[in-house]
């Protein structure tokens, strides 16, 4: 068997294993889904009037405008939240003796991690769709988005999920237990709060703006807004893609190095 077909076959076996885990124990995934949905409802129905005044530049509250503003960020936050589950399950998995067994078998080595990543990206996509459905239900509508733009938005979400998942896998591998993994991955949930997800970067204190502007979430959020709501994308598109590719490659090599290290 060629090494490519071995890789594909073993990775798909591992993916099936991860999907089986997710199907048997959906509570972890569902718990993580709760955070973005609660935040969505909180920001729209509780803070919506106040927040919309900020983004409309003092023209008075407009809750539906704020729904449009906040949804792209929450979709990406959903991904950040889902991959915390990835870090936890990778960390749990490494404690299990079954990983040692995999290491002693003549299989495609990275397939264990690839299975986790593919499974997690699929979960992220499902979660994003669920949160998207809630968003549409409370009034989110795209503005003049073509099919191609929808496709690009979807592609960006998948790419972003892949990037964050590889980082989360690395975090899971360096964490001694599930609690530590959950803590280590916490920045992936918190980072959107420090982005343009809820409030424009321009409304933040001056010294903080560069951080908020160039961290990975903001360009991705702005790109998503541009694709779905017709706002200006500018350099954010390339910045978002560069962040995603960079993080994915970094996460991959970090994870592979950690996984290949001496098991003792």
């Amino acid at each position: 068997m060629s090494s490519l077909s071995l890789a594909v076959r073993d990775s798909s076996t591992m993916l099936r294993r991860n999907l089986l885990h997710a199907r048997r124990y959906p509570s972890l995934t569902l718990n993580l889904l709760l955070t973005p949905i609660v935040l969505l409802l909180l920001f729209v129905y509780i803070f919506g009037d106040a927040m919309s005044s900020v983004i409309s530049g003092g023209e008075g509250p407009d809750r539906s405008a704020y729904i449009a503003y906040v949804v792209p960020g929450l979709l990406l936050m959903t991904i950040g939240s889902t991959v915390v589950g990835t870090a936890v399950s990778v960390s749990n998995d490494m404690i299990e003796g079954i990983i040692a067994r995999f290491r002693t078998m003549a299989i495609h080595r990275p397939s264990v991690l690839i299975g986790h990543v593919l499974g997690s990206v699929l979960q992220s996509v499902m979660s994003v769709i669920l949160v998207g459905v809630v968003a549409v239900a409370i009034g989110f509508r795209s503005v003049d988005a073509t099919a191609l733009e929808w496709l690009a938005a979807f592609g960006l979400l998948v790419l972003f999920a892949t990037a964050l998942t590889w980082i989360a896998v690395g975090m899971g591998l360096v964490s001694p237990n599930a609690e530590a993994a959950s803590n280590n991955a916490m920045p992936l949930i918190l980072l959107p709060l420090l982005s343009s997800a809820f409030t424009p970067v321009g409304s933040m204190p001056g010294w903080f703006r560069p951080i908020a502007e160039y961290q990975p979430f903001t360009p991705a959020i702005e790109t998503l807004r541009g694709l779905l709501l017709g706002s200006e994308i500018g350099a954010d598109g390339w910045l978002a893609v560069a962040w995603c590719l960079g993080l994915a490659v970094l996460g991959y090599f970090w994870s592979a190095a950690k996984f290949d290290g001496d098991a003792a």
């Binding site: 003796g97 040692a100 067994r101 002693t104």
Partner: protein, 362 residues
């Protein structure tokens, strides 16, 4: 995938069978703590090899090296004819490993665990179900097949673990302390399974801290101590290594004790316990002679026990001085006290290991 089966080596096997495992000078250290200090091994194919040693002796480290989980710092080894570093995939394709800690996926069912192994061995569709069902049946897990593995008892988990190891029909199986923590019944079931494996031509590399287990199962036994093979041979050969067979006589009164001591001459005397130890191989002829002398002197012993050396004696004689600081080594000649018999727990020498690294997975 690098496949490096050299035709010459497999043909050469027809003349002189290749050893299943051979190793020369394996070394491993963690920091400045040496775990393996030059281990040599030669295990013929189709045999059971038991590696015996106290906790922290380096048994698990050796298994991890041979099963390609970790790399050695020095020395070299071949497993199933493949070099463990140059051709680790060749080694992996030939071996099955059941580690000290259960290597099952607890979140999925026993059957799913088996099918997972079948898929990773790339068995075709119908074959995988057949083999999974067959092995589950053989290990008495058919009723539990649809339950999550984490709900299994320790014995069931261990059986599932070994069943999973067997899916790829490995030629060499490593079992790292397979019966630790099992109840006697599960232990005997496992012994039976291991005997069946060997009968079908599999080579078994077993580590254990139970002397009885090594005695029961192994063709050859090596005692690992302080990172070195302290002795190697069949159980009988090892038992012959140390002196120690004796007959123990106990008396009710000091009078009988003293006259026996006088009549028998060459004995080890314990006046307080009123016992005498007479060196003996325990044979009928020697016993007969001993009883004859007692009869002739008109002495009746209250109790007579025959003690032949067992692996416990070997174990304690070889590993009794495991304190890493050699300046504190007790004198080699101070023979372990054998009077408490084989049920004595093997814990005593282990507690003298102050700073062994934890050998747990990860």
């Amino acid at each position: 995938m690098p496949v490096s089966v050299m035709p010459t080596s497999s043909r050469g096997g027809a003349h002189a069978p290749l050893p299943a495992v051979s190793a020369v000078g394996l070394r491993k250290a963690y920091g400045d703590h040496t775990v393996l200090d030059g281990v040599d091994l030669h295990i013929p194919a189709g045999s059971v090899f038991a590696l015996l040693g106290p906790n922290g002796a380096g048994k698990t480290t050796l298994v991890k090296i041979l099963s390609t989980l970790i790399t050695a710092d020095g020395g070299q080894a071949q497993v199933a004819g493949h070099d463990i570093t140059a051709s680790s995939d060749g080694v992996r394709a030939a071996i099955g490993v059941t580690g000290q800690f259960s290597a099952v996926d607890g979140l999925i069912t026993g059957e799913e665990n088996m099918l997972l192994m079948a898929d990773l061995h790339h068995l075709p569709g119908r074959e995988r179900r057949r083999i999974a069902a067959e092995l589950l049946e053989r290990f008495g897990l058919t009723d539990a097949a649809k339950k999550p593995a984490q709900s299994y008892s320790g014995g069931m988990k261990r059986r599932l673990d070994i069943a999973m190891t067997l899916v790829g029909a490995p030629r060499i199986i490593f079992l790292d302390e397979p019966t630790t923590g099992l109840d006697p019944r599960s232990r005997h079931t496992l012994w039976q399974i291991i005997r069946e494996l060997v009968a079908s031509g599999t080579t078994v590399f077993l580590t254990t801290q139970y002397l009885e287990e090594a005695d029961q199962l192994a063709d050859r036994i090596a005692v690992l101590n302080d990172g070195r093979i302290a002795a190697e041979g069949t159980a009988d050969e090892l038992k012959r290594l140390i002196p120690g067979g004796h007959v123990r006589l106990r008396f009710l009164g000091p009078a009988a004790y003293r006259s026996a001591a006088a009549a028998l001459g060459d004995t080890v005397q314990d006046e307080e316990a009123l016992t005498l130890r007479i060196p003996s191989d325990g044979s009928q002829r020697e016993l007969h002679a001993l009883l004859g002398r007692l009869d002739a002197a008109g002495i009746e012993a209250d109790e007579l026990t025959v003690h032949t050396p067992d692996l416990d004696d070997v174990f304690f004689a070889l590993t009794g001085s495991t304190v890493p600081d050699r300046s504190h080594r007790p004198d080699r000649s101070s023979e372990p006290d054998r009077s408490t018999g084989p049920q004595r727990s093997s814990e005593s020498p282990q507690s003298t290991e102050p700073h062994q690294p934890k050998e747990a997975a990860r």
